[in-house]
Symmetry: C2
């Protein structure tokens, strides 16, 4: 079949890791007889340099009209880049927020999985990890503090800044449904994370999540306060299967969880709308410090492409083939610099892509 | 000298751990010739049971008129307590938020320190901890999402909940000054944590912190995004000296940091206003599941009393004597259940208090 993929290389290491993901997709295409077509779209710093804005209307349209979006990473070195000498809504990351909202990608799926081959890179003691670490964070992505009204102004002679955290039932219900659907395919446990002892939005969150849970009697639901969750992730990570949470809490907790897997260079993510449309990207950033050196880890992007095959194109077998290839390469001892430990073969970005493509 | 301390035992294990802290203070009093007078104040569940509200105006007045406040913990088992079948502002925790605001305790100082005797209880690998872990989180405590306007109402037929995150220059400046002052007495490094790539309040935060930093040329200041900080705490905790952050981020990050020390049962905290007045309490909660069993760890509360001696009464020598006594008891191998590991002496709450008092 024919698939039309909008590809956004972005900034920093973005173009390098995207190159490897395309290499792997092309191999999938030739083995399984699919035709992946790529349409390049500019976003982030490179779009600012070219068009003066981090995302043009045309770019958003192109993404909208594709079958799915594959994204590298956007942004630069905040302290040392001219991209940041402007209003926040003109900076590279603003492109990311605009495309999330513009494509209505409210469901951000962030798996955190510790490969046993990478146990050495995990910062937690063996007895804490126990039988392994394999969870998914389901983060709401188009609401909350990220998209509420905000302003800074003088109030009684004092500069005052306000951000607004808003959620309505509809927004909560649709992300909760996604979380329970994913839990049904996993260990059937959802932990919903909020701050219901303080926030009104968290109380509504809890109420709606409880309602949705009634439609999934096989899934066990519990609630955890966000401060406790930040603690439990370090103390007893094995208790988690699916975490369901709002935008800002999800941002914080998914980064924390990612570290438990040893390297954020391994973590894929998908951002979906109501249908099968999604934007797929590594959980890590554009890493400007190592850009252009052919040393970045392309695995997170390659695994994101696998998520795309599964969630947007229903190509489960092909997705598994990619995941299997990644596992094989790790078992054989090949490592990019970020996940290197003693006695293994250090490889470059392009070598890693070649090795994985070859095993499909 | 004469010191008038308002004592709030609170709920759950609160009365037990407060009893041990008083025992230690009394010993300090007799050795160093101070007279500590205690006035008992009700707050939380016990105040609800007695007066129908989590904090009465009289209780707040008594606290205000004291030289400092020593607090155990408030709250019950959310799922199984009648205290929670009411509006949030009538629940036990509402008493805590009211007293923080009512006493203007904007500066929450949360040290996180790994005793080398407790290294076995730390979830992080030895090579991650490196030379040890000793940091302070300076959390803003009377602003942000905790105290902004909030409401839940139907908007176009859909229930919608709103919380507001507000900070003004004055609020940010005073907590920043406290953080830099503390850094001057430590390793002179402040990391200010925000989400300035998204929030207006974070951008104002960053600007004001930069201004305050100019008055402390000896202190190095850097900024970190909150998601990255949640990751760095697990990956490279040794890089932190003083973290300065807003209320909600501080709530999440301080719980995360506390786990690195092995047990939240070890962590003290102080909440201060502009002057030397403070409320001192353990970082942990009321642990209703172990209340009344004489097994809770009283060390966090005893160390909080030490902070009171230092910060509110300028009794630095006495504070050190308490801290030294705690260290001695740990070195001698005495442990409450929460920090017990093989080959050590398990002791009860009251035994631990006795042991520490004896060594002063
Ligand atoms: C770049 C930033 C705006 C973004 C976010 O906070 O959502 C990033 O941290 C992420 O998690 O994708
Ligand atoms: C009980 C709760 C309201 C409180 C908070 O969130 O501040 C607690 O978690 C804390 O950190 O002291």
């Amino acid at each position: 079949m024919n698939y039309n993929i909008a590809v956004i290389p972005g900034d920093g290491i973005g173009p390098e890791i995207i190159g490897e993901a395309k290499k792997v997709l092309d191999k999938v295409g030739s083995v399984y007889c699919h035709d992946f077509q790529y349409t390049k779209v500019l976003m982030g710093g490179i779009s600012i340099d070219t068009y003066g804005v981090p995302l043009t209307d045309e770019a958003l349209e192109t993404a909208k009209n594709s079958d799915s979006v594959l994204l590298g990473a956007v942004g630069g070195d905040v302290g040392n880049s001219k991209w940041y000498d402007v209003a926040p809504n003109l900076r590279p990351e603003a492109g990311l927020l605009s495309i999330r909202k513009g494509l209505n990608l409210f469901a951000n799926i962030r798996p955190a999985y510790l490969y046993k081959e990478l146990a050495a890179a995990c910062p937690l003691k063996e007895e804490i990890i126990g039988e392994g670490f394999d969870m998914v964070i389901m983060r709401e992505l188009t609401g909350g503090l990220y998209f509420g009204d905000r302003f800074t102004k003088e109030v009684d002679g004092v500069m005052t800044a306000v951000d607004t955290l808003t959620y309505n039932e509809t927004e909560i219900r649709r992300i909760a449904i996604k979380a329970f659907e994913i839990a049904m395919k996993r260990k059937k446990r959802v932990i919903s994370v909020d701050k219901a002892n303080v926030l009104d939005s968290s109380r509504l969150w809890r109420k709606v999540v409880e309602e949705v849970a009634k439609d999934y009697p096989k899934v066990s639901l519990s609630h955890m306060l966000v401060d406790n969750c930040a603690m439990q992730l370090v103390m007893n990570p094995g208790q988690f299967d699916v975490i369901l949470t709002e935008n800002m809490f999800g941002d914080i907790l998914s980064d924390e969880a990612s570290m438990i897997t040893g390297s954020i260079g391994m973590l894929s993510s998908a951002s979906m709308n109501e249908s099968k449309f999604g934007m797929y990207e590594p959980s890590h950033g554009s890493a400007p410090d190592i850009a252009g050196k052919n040393i970045a880890n392309p695995i997170a992007t390659i695994l994101s492409a696998a998520m795309m095959l599964r969630y947007s194109f229903d190509l489960d077998e092909e997705a598994k083939a990619v995941e299997k290839a990644v596992e094989l390469v790790l078992q054989e001892g090949y490592r990019t610099a970020d996940i290197l430990s003693e006695g293994q073969n250090k490889v470059s970005t392009t070598e890693m892509g070649d090795l994985i493509a070859k095993r499909i």
